[in-house]
Amino acid sequence: MPKIIKDLNVVEDSWQVWRDTENLPTTGGVIVPLSLWQAHKDALLALGDIAVFLASDQSPKLLGADINSFALIAVDFPKFADGRGFSYGRELREQHGFNGELRAIGDFMRDQLYFLKRCGFNSFALQSDELDEALASFNDFSDAYQPSIDQSLPIFRRR
């Protein structure tokens, strides 16, 4: 079973990312594209556990009222330099109250883990053979100036 980082631990994980936007998967336990979800909600739910992922040009607003029906929402990073997903993470947590698992998938890198975590992500399908080593990057900084998901107060309210 593939390994991911979840809640600061390396764990085995069975979710499959299904990137096909036209054909449906045949089993549950898949993370499907938003467009597939929007077109085939009932058929997908009949398969079992279903999660959805946002492409980098798909705002969480497109999920509408479905947001809090998911146990897991993923955000895809097509390139690590594409930082839109950082804003999506905060929006899901702060504006839509999403409390489920928020997973980063795609081409992000180890050196972004600290910022991703601050933006509300708690699971990471990091493409790396060195997941245990990568955990160290969550500790790059021990505190931060800005308020975010992991620290609700800016430093100036705590100094």
């Binding site: 690590f80 930082g83 804003s87 050196d111 900084f141 505190d143 100094r159």
Partner: protein
């Protein structure tokens, strides 16, 4: 100036450790070139034509003597014994070794300096009027707000991978010396009808390939909303800014495509979620920031008659007129050290000069030194009665060329001599122009003129807002130069218009001479170059230049 507490210190030292680890992993082949690129850029490290270049942050252009001495020592130990003041008030080293950069950063941290976010697609070093806190025409000191913005933007988790670089400038005086109309966000401090401080928020200005004057999207923003409003702007830009084309990725393109009104509406929508939230500034925080920028212990001195002072010596008189500015405290004067010696790249300063300037900053002031976007250095608090003594020392140090604000106070990027982006050299053009116009009486007669040179479209030399702008272009593998006229910074900023087809390198001084002759023949009494150009337009200049 701002002093770190244990928290700031810890963050900067953790940043050094983080980059040391990243550099080691890169050198060990565990990080690809492509992945290392944003990591090194966000620590100021470019890979240049001849060697890496390290850009060290000088937040809003404020330095102290100890920091200057450290920069001098670093430039000797890790570089070639000189440094360069950039057009965004930062300090650049042109010859560091990649594997030694973590050591340089560690030494910088000892004096509360760093290279954080001086490059890359993130919020860059915030800039301000170099005369903040001392200018006679100041509305309010911009530096406390700059420091607040610096802290908010440092390691902002959401905004480190923007579509493109993002530059914020704050101006706290009536005359804009921070170029707020041509930044991604410009903040102009104003006083509202009741006398309360507010910010005029200008967004989507910029130079580069597509020069644009920014749009005002908020006429008077209360200080407590400063950070939430900035965060809302950046959040909209992060999500909607173009990422498919690097040349269309700046916020100016987004604002223009959406229209300023629609952009503003999106910002306000986003702002509604965070306005009055935890990021709202408290009175305590604003006071705390301001406490670091309180006026030093000025003596009560009589205001001297500048004309009487000028009688000392004719050379001194010229320097006094051009290189010093009015101070808000009686008996004091602001002094600009011109890093514009002919034959030396504009903005270059040697380790020895840095050390002497550090001493001068302490002896003729309170140990504070400023860097300017015109690539000069400022001693902000000089007693008028000591100006003559200081001038003699500055002459000795070769930083007293009395050319500030004149044709020869050229702003110039490093250009093709150093930069791998450049299409053409820029430093030799600056030198050729300075040599052509060595006659200071002629230069003074021309009055206030800004001449800016960029070696490529990226416009680091701010050529679009030079009254005379020179842009290096590549024409079938040859270096050519396009001349533009009528650009200006300031609150009535304008983008220069192109004179016509570009010129070969050796023609440039002749063309500039023709442009200046045209100005001299057409100007009316008291008119500056910019005024004449705005009155008569391009045609007479064009006719003469291509005659």
């Amino acid at each position: 100036m701002y002093a770190y507490d244990h928290f700031d210190r810890q963050l900067v030292s953790q940043r050094v450790a983080q980059f040391r680890d990243q550099t080691q992993r890169y050198l060990a082949g565990k990080i690809t070139d492509e992945q290392f690129l944003p990591l090194r850029l966000q620590n100021g490290l470019y890979i240049q034509r001849l060697a890496p270049m390290l850009r060290i942050a000088v937040p809003y252009g404020t330095l102290n003597a100890e920091q200057l001495r450290k920069l001098a020592a670093i430039s000797r130990k890790y570089d070639k014994g000189y440094a360069h003041i950039s057009t965004r008030q930062n300090v650049q080293l042109n010859w560091p070794k990649l594997e030694e950069v973590p050591d340089i950063l560690e030494e910088l941290a000892e004096v509360e300096m760093h290279a954080v976010q001086t490059s890359g697609n993130c919020i860059r070093n915030v800039t301000a009027d170099q005369f903040s806190g001392v200018a006679a025409d100041e509305i309010e000191d911009a530096r406390a707000y700059c420091e607040i913005i610096r802290q908010w933007s440092t390691f902002h988790p959401e905004l480190a991978f923007l579509p493109r670089k993002f530059k914020i400038a704050v101006c706290g005086s009536e005359s804009d010396r921070a170029a707020v109309m041509v930044h991604d966000i410009g903040l102009q401090i104003i006083k509202d009808a009741a006398g309360n401080t507010a910010f005029k928020v200008i967004v989507g200005g910029g130079l580069g390939r597509t020069p644009v004057i920014g749009s005002v999207i908020n006429e008077a923003l209360e200080p407590k909303h400063l950070l939430t409003y900035l965060e809302a702007i950046l959040r909209v830009y992060n999500q909607l800014g173009r990422r498919d084309n690097k040349f269309k990725a700046r916020i100016k393109i987004l604002v223009r495509a959406m229209g300023a009104e629609a952009f503003k509406a999106d910002v306000e929508k986003e702002w509604a979620h965070i306005k009055d939230g935890a990021l709202s500034l408290t009175d305590e925080e604003i006071s705390r920031a301001q406490s670091f920028f309180q006026p030093p212990a000025y003596e009560s001195l009589p205001q001297q008659d500048m004309q009487a002072l000028a009688l000392e010596n004719a050379d001194f008189a010229r320097w006094l007129q051009h290189n010093t500015h009015a101070h808000k405290v009686a008996g004091y004067r602001i002094v600009t050290l011109a890093l514009k010696t002919t034959g030396v790249a504009p903005g270059d300063v040697t380790a020895e000069q840095l050390e002497v300037i550090a001493d001068l900053g302490e002896r003729y002031g309170f140990g504070e030194i400023r860097s300017t976007h015109q690539q000069n250095i400022v001693l902000p608090d000089v007693r008028q009665q000591e100006l003559f003594a200081l001038w003699k020392e500055l002459v000795e140090l070769e930083v007293a060329a009395p050319v500030v604000g004149t044709l020869n106070d050229i702003i110039c990027c490093p250009g093709g001599d150093f930069c791998s982006l450049a299409n053409a050299k820029s430093i030799p053009i600056a030198e050729a122009i300075q040599r052509r116009f060595e006659d200071l009486d002629y230069v003074y007669d021309l009055g206030e003129i800004e001449l800016n040179i960029s070696g490529c479209m990226n416009a680091c030399g701010h050529h679009h807002i030079g009254n005379i702008g020179i842009l290096g272009v590549d024409k079938k593998g040859q270096e050519f130069y396009q001349v533009s006229l009528g650009g200006s910074q300031g609150l009535d900023a304008s983008i220069g218009k192109i004179l016509g087809p570009s010129f070969a390198q050796d023609e440039v001084p002749n063309v500039i001479e023709k442009v200046l002759e045209t100005f001299v023949s057409l100007r009316q009494p008291e008119e500056r170059f910019l005024d004449t150009f705005r009155r008569v337009g391009m045609d007479p200049f064009k006719e003469r230049a291509y005659a």
